[in-house]
Each structure stands twice: as structure tokens, then as C-alpha cells.
């Protein structure tokens, strides 16, 4: 599948407008609502996709390390540091965890993925 960068295609000129099926759906999030509930309607609509994503990541770590122990250890440890996350983000993540049923440590891991992957 690999095409080295030097074998680039010509600059495209026929891709716009993209198909409407690729347009991303809009949601409103009210900053006037309590942080713990303001994301509920968004994550409720995408909870199976979030769950599948985290499951895939969990499987990847299990295959890499040969065990689920490491992922579970990190997720449990993150649950312990969740109270140190600044507000309102802490409450927002608690709310997302509650709606999706995904453990708080995993939601926190998802939210610090940038730093975690950089590490």
C-alpha cells in the first residue's frame, strides 16, 4: 500500500465539493448547562463508536504486550488522578463516562491521548 512521497499524484482539482455523505454532523453544546450533562446528547449518539474505538486501542495494547494487565493498570491509575484534572473538564469527563458506561480512567486516557502518544 505504501507509495513513497516522491511518487505523488498530480495536485488534485476535482475533489470539491466533496460528497454530502462526508459532511460531519453538527451538535450544539451549551456552556450554560452544568458540565456533567452538557455533552450527554453528543456522546449518547456516538457511544458505540467511542466504545469500539477504545476497545480497538485496548486490543492493540493487549497484542503488543501480550496481556490486558497494562492497559487496565493505566486506566485504573488514571481514575485515581481524574480528580486532579481542572474543571470544568473533569466534570465533563465524569458526565461522558456516566452516559457511555465507559470507565472514567479510559475516558481520561482518551482525553490525554495527545500527551500519552507523545510520551
Amino acid at each position: 500500500a505504501f507509495v513513497p512521497a516522491q511518487f505523488t499524484q498530480e495536485c488534485r482539482s476535482d475533489t470539491y465539493p466533496p460528497p454530502s455523505s462526508s459532511e460531519v454532523e453538527w451538535f450544539d453544546v451549551s456552556l450554560d448547562e452544568a458540565p456533567i450533562i452538557r455533552w450527554r446528547h453528543v456522546v449518547a449518539r456516538r457511544q458505540s463508536q467511542i466504545r469500539d474505538l477504545l476497545l480497538q486501542f485496548k486490543n492493540f495494547i493487549r497484542q503488543l504486550t501480550g496481556s490486558s494487565v497494562y492497559f487496565n493498570l493505566v486506566a485504573r491509575s488514571l481514575t485515581l488522578i481524574a480528580p486532579t484534572v481542572p474543571q470544568p473538564y473533569q466534570d465533563e469527563m465524569v458526565g461522558i463516562s456516566t452516559v457511555t458506561g465507559i470507565p472514567l480512567g479510559e475516558i481520561l486516557l482518551y482525553n490525554i491521548f495527545y500527551e500519552a502518544t507523545n510520551l
Binding site: 500500500a1 454532523e25 451538535f27 450544539d28 486532579t84 502518544t117 510520551l119
Partner: protein, 255 residues
């Protein structure tokens, strides 16, 4: 990731980006795709953050992620984040310090969210993005609402190590293009999206610049690749914001 700030010949500033993610997090041999990238794509949502019924800013998220990677504050500024890896300032130490109780640095996504919620101008956003201590390095691509505004902030954990202003850009002052490498150094030879991106921007030219041609540039291989999840198009002065899920059909580079 690839972010572009471009001004057309009438002085209208456009800000666009490809968000690429999922490298090395599992490869699907049958479908020839990155697994995490494929699982990320269905989670993408656009959010209008509102206060007292008014839109404060708009952004594109992976649902469940509360930080900001791509956003627009209508009439004020726009912001995208590209990841930066730096051996001398990776997040390892920052995360360890956080766990041990030294919490004077900020998680990237929470900083950008705070910027979008509280900064009222391009200058204020720039000041917050350059001056706040972070847990990991990053590139911040910041667009403004008037001609010649726009910069790329190269961040270490502690400070901005470079601010590349449009006004100071050498050969092509009408646009800036940022991938995942410091702009004053050559990109990694196996991951050069900068050269093809620049080639396409120059081929399109300033006169034809707009959503159509920026989207075409961001849809050209290898700027578009198997890690690309979405393309966002933004215009600060009118508050226009569009984002589209992207896929790259074979033959397509794996990054």
C-alpha cells in the same frame, strides 16, 4: 497533520487542516488501513459551543474528547493543532511531574479549549498559546480576522521556541503550510507532505485561493493519506466552517 493559512488576492484569510492520526496503532492487513484511524472516523462531530443562546465558537471533535484540535471563533480567530515530537521536551517528564503533584503545566487540549472560550482576539489567543507552560510540545496554527494576520507557533513544553508570522514568511507571504516538523528544518525524508503541499499551493496560486482549491490541495496525495480522518475549512471573517470525513483510496501512502 497538515494545516494551511492562506489569503486570497482580496485579502480574505482561509484556514484549513487535515487531521491525521493512528500511526502504528495497528494495521488491518486485509483492508490496508490503520485500525485506530478507521475507528476514529465515525466518532467525528462538529460542535457549536453556545452561551446565552449565542455561538461562542465552533469546533470539530472526536466525540468524547473535550479538548480542541480544530476551531473557529467567528470574527475573531481560528486555531488548529498539529502534533510535534521533540526528544528534548517530550511529555514524559511533564506527565510524571503531574502525577507527582507538580501541576503548573497544562494539558494541550484543555489549553486550546480555554483559549477558544476566553480569548477575545487574535492577539490574546496568541499570547495564551505562546506563554502557557504545557505538558507536551505542539504546533499551534492561528489565524486572525484581518489581512496579514496568521502565525505558526512552535511550542516546547515551557515556551514558544518560534513564532512564524505570515508577514515574515520569505517566499510566499500569502500562505503558510505546517505539517509535523519544525518549519526551519527539512521534514523527515519518509514523511514529506510539506514539499507536495507547497507545490500544490503554489500551482493553485493566490488568485484562485478559496475553499475549493484548499480542499483540492488537502485532497492531494500524500497530503491526503491513510491516516487522514477529516478535512476542515474555516473562514474567520464570515464564520464559515465546514468539515468532511476523508478517506484515501489506493494507491495511497500509509502516512
Amino acid at each position: 497533520c497538515t494545516s494551511v493559512l492562506a489569503e486570497d488576492s482580496k485579502g480574505v484569510l482561509y484556514h484549513a487542516r487535515n487531521l491525521d492520526f493512528g500511526l502504528f496503532f495497528g494495521w488491518d492487513k486485509a483492508k490496508k488501513t490503520w485500525l485506530v484511524t478507521e475507528y476514529l472516523r465515525p466518532t467525528i462531530v462538529n460542535i457549536r459551543f453556545k452561551k446565552s443562546g449565542q455561538t461562542v465558537f465552533m469546533s470539530t471533535h472526536f466525540a468524547g474528547y473535550v479538548g480542541i484540535l480544530t476551531a473557529l471563533k467567528p470574527g475573531r480567530f481560528s486555531l488548529t493543532v498539529n502534533s510535534r515530537n521533540s526528544l528534548d521536551g517530550s511529555s514524559t517528564l511533564g506527565i510524571i511531574e503531574w502525577i507527582l503533584g507538580k501541576r503548573d503545566a497544562v494539558w494541550m487540549g484543555f489549553l486550546t479549549r480555554r483559549v477558544m472560550e476566553t480569548a477575545d482576539s487574535y492577539a490574546q489567543a496568541k499570547q495564551m498559546l505562546t506563554g502557557t507552560k504545557m505538558l507536551a510540545p505542539a504546533y499551534f496554527i492561528l489565524g486572525g480576522n484581518s489581512t496579514m494576520q496568521g502565525c505558526i507557533i512552535t511550542r516546547s513544553r515551557n515556551a514558544a521556541i518560534d513564532v512564524w508570522e505570515r508577514s515574515a514568511a520569505a517566499n510566499h507571504t500569502w500562505y503558510l503550510l505546517q505539517t509535523n516538523y519544525d518549519h526551519w528544518k527539512p521534514p523527515f525524508v519518509l514523511d514529506d507532505r510539506r514539499t507536495p503541499g507547497n507545490k500544490c499551493m503554489m500551482a493553485k496560486g493566490q488568485a484562485s485561493m478559496g475553499f475549493k482549491e484548499i480542499f483540492n490541495v488537502l485532497s492531494s496525495i500524500p497530503v491526503l493519506n491513510k491516516l487522514t480522518t477529516y478535512t476542515a475549512l474555516m473562514r474567520v471573517d464570515t464564520g464559515e466552517y465546514h468539515s468532511y470525513r476523508q478517506t484515501c483510496k489506493d494507491p495511497c501512502p500509509i502516512w
